[in-house]
Subunit: 332 residues, 2 copies
């Protein structure tokens, strides 16, 4: 295994320690847990934003804690949901008496544990609600879109939640806004290689040389179509056709276009994809308000990329434009 | 080859197009060249900062063009210096009559072409000077430190040059400051796998499974020691011992500590390394002013990482702390 680690059993503990040491002006670790919070949490007169999920997707979620982003995060073991106990600690760290919104991705384990933590917190008198992210169009048909997995729209949805909450918006209105951002998001990815689990040294799946798979999940979940590796342009067109038809995105729409690298994708490749997105959406009359390029949500060192389109309205755009300051996402 | 590209001959052209389209509020392409410049270049009353080098190291150098960073960049083909003609165009785009400082890494091809462009520009009446970066301690002994290659100190040195130039500092003083930052920087890396050249599909070198190599260059240049893969902690200690002894860094020194991923390094691994850097420098009484973690300077999708320490003085710290806004480096 070609990885720089120490004891495989301590990976998550050590990564959180390193993250907090490197960002000690911004974040703190919640003692005895794998949760972190903004250094100044809880923030007075603000609904707390709590995020979380399994490790192995860094910068997701841990690096999206900060000013204008989330207030606290619960980090699980690799590709495993955090426990409800850890999520509860994150909720308590984020709550300043104005309530907490849970923003996370739709996976069975996460839903189970976040729901359990939500119930306990409510019993303890904390107002808590949930906005689920389910942008991955490959994981269930449109008729069952609430069954879809959450993927690479997540950093932008967290950013919008963080910005809106910092204006003092109440929990109900905030949930409505974040749900709208989530409903208006669509993603689809393509994998070119598997990743290796650091605890075992085993690959998450196998993909023969020369093949690529559309719709592969962030934990190696089977995709929707395996084909010979296509050009970047053809790959981009294929993804965009499916995403555009799904919402649908229409002429005159204004969008954020995000290109996400899964782990070992070069920025060179991501820029070549971004070039085609601009050309292709231009032909369709869809206006790109902003292009985001980076490894926002990884699957360890998997090769490949996903494209996310988020349809904007004036409100979402206003919160997208606000400043953000986290280790994984900065906006001036 | 597991890469998302189109025609291998057009990679650099297309990546620059995509980069400029994605950042059109910040940068422009200099027509007919592989050079880019700040959208508002040349900037009045400011020495221009011109950077550049081969492609394949993105975000280096192209993504360090922006406010508080460089004014123009010359991008070469993959692992190949830009031509003197392209560098000359970048110099002209950056020059507002107050002169231009060339800031780039010490490689024979780059030195040849940047020097040629400098001579032509001077002949045309533009005041030009050079600050070379040569932080890689593995590439030549201390007695010949001017022969060393420039590596992962580069983004921070560009950041300091960009900030200082934006205060209106003259060319001579600026060169002195940037040279000091360069002289106070030391880096050393370790590779865990090779990368594949997208034009040919060939690996840059071979490294048997289970081995790691210290001092491997960014283009597959041979390193100084091949060993069985060690723990992250032991790897970090080994690198720090060599870096600390080389400057030398001493008790009471204040440093920027940078962990750089080479391409397919997970942030998980980089945080585990950062944790050890904090522990180890703490034991030595060396104070970490700031920790930078990211893929700042890659070798396509090579696995492994490098550590850079930059010794600070009050002046360098002042310019490091100023705001920066480029696609590859943002500071609030």
């Amino acid at each position: 295994m070609r990885k720089l680690i120490n004891d495989p059993d301590n990976i998550v503990d050590e990564l959180i320690d390193g993250f907090v040491l490197a960002n000690k002006d911004k974040v703190k670790r919640i003692k005895g847990t794998t949760a972190v919070a903004r250094i100044d949490a809880p923030i007075k007169d603000k609904v707390g934003i709590v995020i979380g999920g399994g490790a192995g997707h860094e910068p997701l979620f841990i690096e999206y804690v900060g000013k204008g982003m989330a207030d606290a995060e619960a980090h699980g073991q690799i590709f495993t949901s955090p426990s409800s106990a850890v999520i509860l600690e994150a909720i308590k760290a984020a709550d300043a008496g104005k309530g907490v919104l849970l923003v996370y991705c739709n996976y069975a384990g996460d839903v189970l544990n976040f729901n359990a933590a939500q119930e306990i917190a409510r019993d303890e008198g904390i107002e808590v609600d949930t906005s689920l992210i389910y942008d991955d169009i490959s994981s269930a048909p449109l008729d069952n879109k609430e069954d879809r997995r959450g993927t690479t729209a997540t950093p932008i949805i967290i950013k919008i939640a963080g910005a809106a909450s910092s204006t003092g918006m109440g929990l109900n209105e905030l949930k409505g806004l974040v749900d709208t951002a989530s409903i208006n998001s669509r993603s689809l990815g393509v994998s070119l290689s598997a990743c290796t689990l650091p605890e075992t040294g085993l690959a998450t799946f196998t993909l023969e040389d020369g093949k690529m798979e559309f719709g592969m999940g962030l934990h190696g979940e089977a995709g929707i179509k395996k084909v010979d590796i296509m050009t970047a342009d053809k790959t981009t067109e294929t993804i965009l056709d499916l995403i555009i038809a799904d919402l649908p995105f229409s002429e005159g729409d204004e969008v954020i276009a995000l290109v996400n690298g899964y782990g070992s994708t070069t920025r060179m490749e991501m820029f070549i994809v971004a070039r085609k997105i601009h050309q292709y959406l231009g032909q369709k009359g869809i206006d790109i308000y902003s292009t985001e390029i980076g490894e926002f949500c990884t699957s360890l060192e998997m090769a490949g990329m996903s494209i996310t389109l988020i349809k904007l309205d004036d409100k979402i755009k206003e919160y997208y434009d606000m400043a953000a300051d986290s280790s994984g996402y900065i906006k001036l």
